[in-house]
Symmetry: C2
Subunit: 623 residues, 2 copies
């Protein structure tokens, strides 16, 4: 068994043949880790072992004692199921012990089935295939355009995952942006989970595609350490284009009973002892990973005072998307760590305002929302504060990336504009009426939905300091300014805009519907019916205290939302009453129809969420 | 103004020069429609007008009186914002009147801002870019492999949308599947919404990419009707490969003040009268679209009796995913209209079972969930009953396609396997804990979550008759069979598995947590605490009646779900109490931690949703 105490054999990185031995060690340790776990992807690790061995021994520059160094290279294991080979490499590098290696997939071990940033040398979680390369684009953009270091980004992909469209969004972005510090290594082992991949060992079918997207391509035998080393050197010296190395490999390489066999995906080997013997037994070769050469300069100077835009209460109507764009621009002046990405709709989301003032921190990602969020995740993983914006409806494209961003434990601000049926004429394809459900269900997320310009500005600024995934929902059309510019909007709070001791019911609204609720309340007041109005600008976390108080004082809560009835404001309000005390009377108005094109007012009326609908519902409920 | 009553000029389709006149008419009518609407995409329509004119006049085979004919060609306007040119073409074809054309984007008009199947000649809704080609793949597969007709599929794309990864998923699928009846026409007008596209008028940059994916490519001047016609003929005669026609066009073509100008996206022209004059004035050319030549044979014979698999109550433990796979296979035998798609995880979802029995109706879509759902939408639009399966976690990749499938008004069954933290060792990247929130918020959706094999089998069969988008959530691990094989599971129902007049609380669970709830109830019964247990197998619609009864009889409901607290079972149960009556005491247990790898039992315990956690919560709530 390998020693833990200094008797390891140091690798001579100049001796290429010794690298083959290291590859075998990574295989052996992958077999051992999956055997100890009783599950895991042994054969997928064995195909990649030589690729990883040569990378760690001779090409990666990384200080395991200082993973946050901007000058470190970045390694992303996009085929996250091959985690055993990564953990085996960490062991070879002296970063984890052999004992820890054998905790793989066990409770409380940081060596999860798929890598997560619970491990300090893992920048982003992988395991949902096709995400490593888009995130790698973000890391490479960060290195070149933000951190401005010479560090390289290495992404090891499987061949099955190349079918994901997100890979081609990344291929397009990296090629067009000339990210020559980015290298994709594709472990073409021919076998997916279920059987053969579409292209088998036809390396050129992949190469043709990447070349068409502006990549430099290299085809090699992925088990020949000399070819691997030469390919990495060629990638390092290639200028102006990202490089993809297409490595022909064998799944289960090194063990006859497993090599190139179908039906062994995601399983430990059946005869681990025999496999280890066939692989030459347990070794304890130690790799000295090279440290980065340069040190990066100081970045992100202390923030300057924030000079948010201000609007007069009761002044001209303003769209919250406009307020977002202006506040974001001001935030970018105060905070040099704020960066903005948009999916070719910056003129609509108003992220474009930021681009005029801070072009060096604005990234046009074109209509590729997965790549947009993937790039933002890469930037966030390196400590920048990205804001990524699109239509609320189209952020659904990036749902899996957003979900995984939470697993990656990054802090990322998203903005979805054009929410709800209130956009009117463009019709249902453009209406975000599912976004609150999507964003509330993200682990640790914060969901904000301002009703006016001042609220939007303050909440935009707040997002730069929120941990985890935060979401701002904005509205296309202009609405009244109902708050003064110095009003504060704490996350988790709400605003009670109409209130009296005579209130017979509370209308809980947010964003667009707040204005409908205020109009209804005024109309009802004229009829002698007092109703409370709460602006639920923080949809998650939700202001339980105010909602309980309203429930106790008015007995009935009517929620009104420009969103489907599921997962949005109605559900959020109901969730405030889950502490075991009897809940109040709850009624909800939401978008239950399939909207068509119409004016915004007609659309709100057709969905039954306008002032008329609220008024009618209140009349019914109080009588 | 054009006549409505037969004075239209019939087009001589042999006179190619007359097609240029038709193109001008489509431009004029696009200008008129957007002017009447006060919004809409005039310039995006004008770039595409000649492409549409030649297609309708000389190449499309379509019977406007019988849109459901299997032998009809299919035309998908992927750049759905150019709807005016489509509606103008419908008018030229005599399908809509000039008066209706001018109802564009108005309330109650079927001529929505982006096309939807409210129009009988529109198969699928478009407007979320990058979806037309994946759906076109589904339509082409339907024509070739299911309906077995010679009909062609024409998809008109914008150039901006080519940045979407979903387009490359479609390029990959169509190339690999040799869909030579599919033609993509790309209207390369150089300008996106916000400004220039990445590739401008560099047609070859697109052609290189498509060629690498196995497409035949043709580059043309998209305003030269002779070149367009020749390209369509070349596409029609190309065998073994899909064809992409890259058409160099000018946004706003034909009107000097608009042509190739930035900043005019999505707007009517400023001087419509001048523009119409410059375009040669209003015309009323009438196109006689060719009818399809062949008639298709009868398809989908009457269903045979359904012989569902059966499991003995209390027998061996069975995974609901296994039951799904077996039931789906039996369903495929009884119903010849059932087709199945999977994203290269059929061995896990068990969709693979179907492939063994019915390979001619099984479609392996590889790891490309957007294409998988897009293809299913195309098949559903043609009247087939697709079931598409992947891990619950990875269906989030297709969120936007699922959302749009609802707008397309298709009936589509989705199955998400490996739900929840109960999968254990694989860790958070593979755990679907947001899927219920996503699926509940889809318009008109049905969300089902069986706890045992018999429930899974019955609900799988039921999905073949559910209108709209339905979703079945399955579990990886085996669980007890708690129902007999003849039990019925109506959609919208629930099962009360433990009940007495002494019940002090109701535990509402589903799927994995039902088994935890039953274990807790048995343990509590031994302590003298009677609790009711409800199996909420129908999460949407939810069984309000049973939940109200439980609330009235037991006073308190405790929901337990292997899902995040937002948007799932807790929210669904709370929504049952939104009718204005005072709601009961509600408490929810859900996955609030960020899970790591561990055994399934440890994972359920760590999330606080196992029998221990339920027992402890009940003890606290009843004391």
């Amino acid at each position: 068994m390998p020693s833990e105490t200094g008797t390891a054999t140091p690798l001579d990185p100049e001796n290429l043949d010794a690298l083959a031995e290291l590859g075998q060690q990574l295989r052996v340790d992958s077999v051992r880790a999956t055997d100890a776990a009783g599950s895991g992807h042994a054969t997928s690790s064995m195909s990649a072992a030589d690729l990883v061995a040569v990378l760690f021994a001779r090409h990666l520059h990384y200080d395991f004692d200082a993973p946050d160094l901007a000058t470190n290279d970045r390694f992303v294991l996009s085929k996250g199921h091959a985690s055993p080979v990564l953990y085996a490499a960490f062991k070879a590098a002296g970063a984890v012990s052999d004992a820890e290696l054998l905790t793989f997939r066990k409770e409380d071990s940081r060596l999860d089935g798929h890598p997560t940033p619970r491990i300090p040398w893992v920048d982003v979680a992988t395991g949902s295939l096709g995400q490593g390369l888009p995130v790698g684009v973000g890391l490479a953009l960060t290195a070149r355009d933000l951190d401005r270091t010479d560090s390289r980004v290495w992404v090891l992909c499987g061949d099955s995952e190349i079918a994901e469209g997100s890979v081609w969004e990344a291929a397009e972005a990296a090629g067009a942006l000339h990210l020559d510090r980015l290298t994709a290594i594709i472990d073409v082992n021919r076998l997916g989970q279920r059987g053969p991949t579409r292209h088998g060992h036809d390396l050129d079918s992949y190469a043709r595609r990447f070349r068409a997207f502006g990549w430099h391509t290299i085809e090699i035998d992925g088990h020949d350490v000399h070819e691997i080393d030469a390919a990495y050197r060629e990638a390092e010296s290639t200028r102006g284009e990202p490089t993809v190395i297409l490595a022909r490999t064998i799944k289960g390489q090194g063990v006859r009973a497993a090599a190139d066999h179908e039906g062994l995906h995601g399983k430990p080997l059946k005869d681990p002892e025999g496999a280890i013997a066939e692989l030459g037994g347990v070794r304890d070769i130690r790799v000295s990973v090279q440290k980065p050469k340069d040190s990066a300069g100081q970045r992100n100077p202390a923030p300057a005072p924030l000079d948010l835009p201000r609007w007069d209460k009761g002044g001209d109507e303003v769209a919250t998307r406009d307020a977002f764009g202006k506040a974001l621009t001001a935030l970018g002046t105060a905070r040099r760590d704020v960066v903005v990405l948009d999916g070719e709709v910056g003129d609509s989301t108003r992220a474009e305002f930021f681009s005029k003032e801070h072009p060096e921190r604005y990234f046009e990602m074109y209509i590729a929302e997965q790549q947009m969020v993937g790039a933002a995740v890469g930037m966030a993983a390196r400590g920048w504060r990205p804001f990524a914006a699109s239509f609320a409806a189209f952020l659904t494209r990036a749902h899996d990336f957003i979900r995984m961003a939470a697993v990656s434990q990054v802090s990322l601000a998203l903005c979805g504009s054009h929410s709800g049926v209130a956009i009117g004429e463009d019709g249902p394809s453009q209406m975000g009426v599912e976004d609150l459900a999507m964003m509330r269900a993200v682990h640790g997320s914060t969901v904000l939905y301002p009703a006016d310009a001042n609220a939007a500005a303050h909440l935009t600024a707040a997002m730069a300091d929120i941990e985890g995934i935060s979401y701002l929902r904005t509205t296309r059309g202009a609405n009244a300014v109902v708050y003064g510019p110095d009003e504060e909007f704490p996350v988790g709070g709400s605003k009670t805009l109409r209130s009296s001791s005579e209130d017979r019911l509370t209308v809980v609204a947010a964003g667009q519907t707040l204005h409908e609720a205020l109009a209804a309340a005024d109309r009802l007041a004229a009829e002698g019916v007092a109703v409370r109005v709460v602006d639920l600008y923080s949809v998650k976390p939700v202001d339980r205290e105010t909602l309980w108080k309203a429930a106790e004082e008015t007995g009935c809560l009517l929620t009104v939302e420009d969103h489907h009835p599921e997962g949005g404001i109605g559900d959020a309000v109901a969730s405030a009453f889950d502490d075991g005390r009897p809940a109040p009377r709850l009624v909800r108005l939401a978008v239950r129809n399939m909207p068509g094109s119409a004016t915004p007012a007609q659309s709100l009326a057709a969905a039954g969420i306008d002032a008329d609908a609220i008024t009618a519902s209140v009349r019914m409920l109080v009588n």
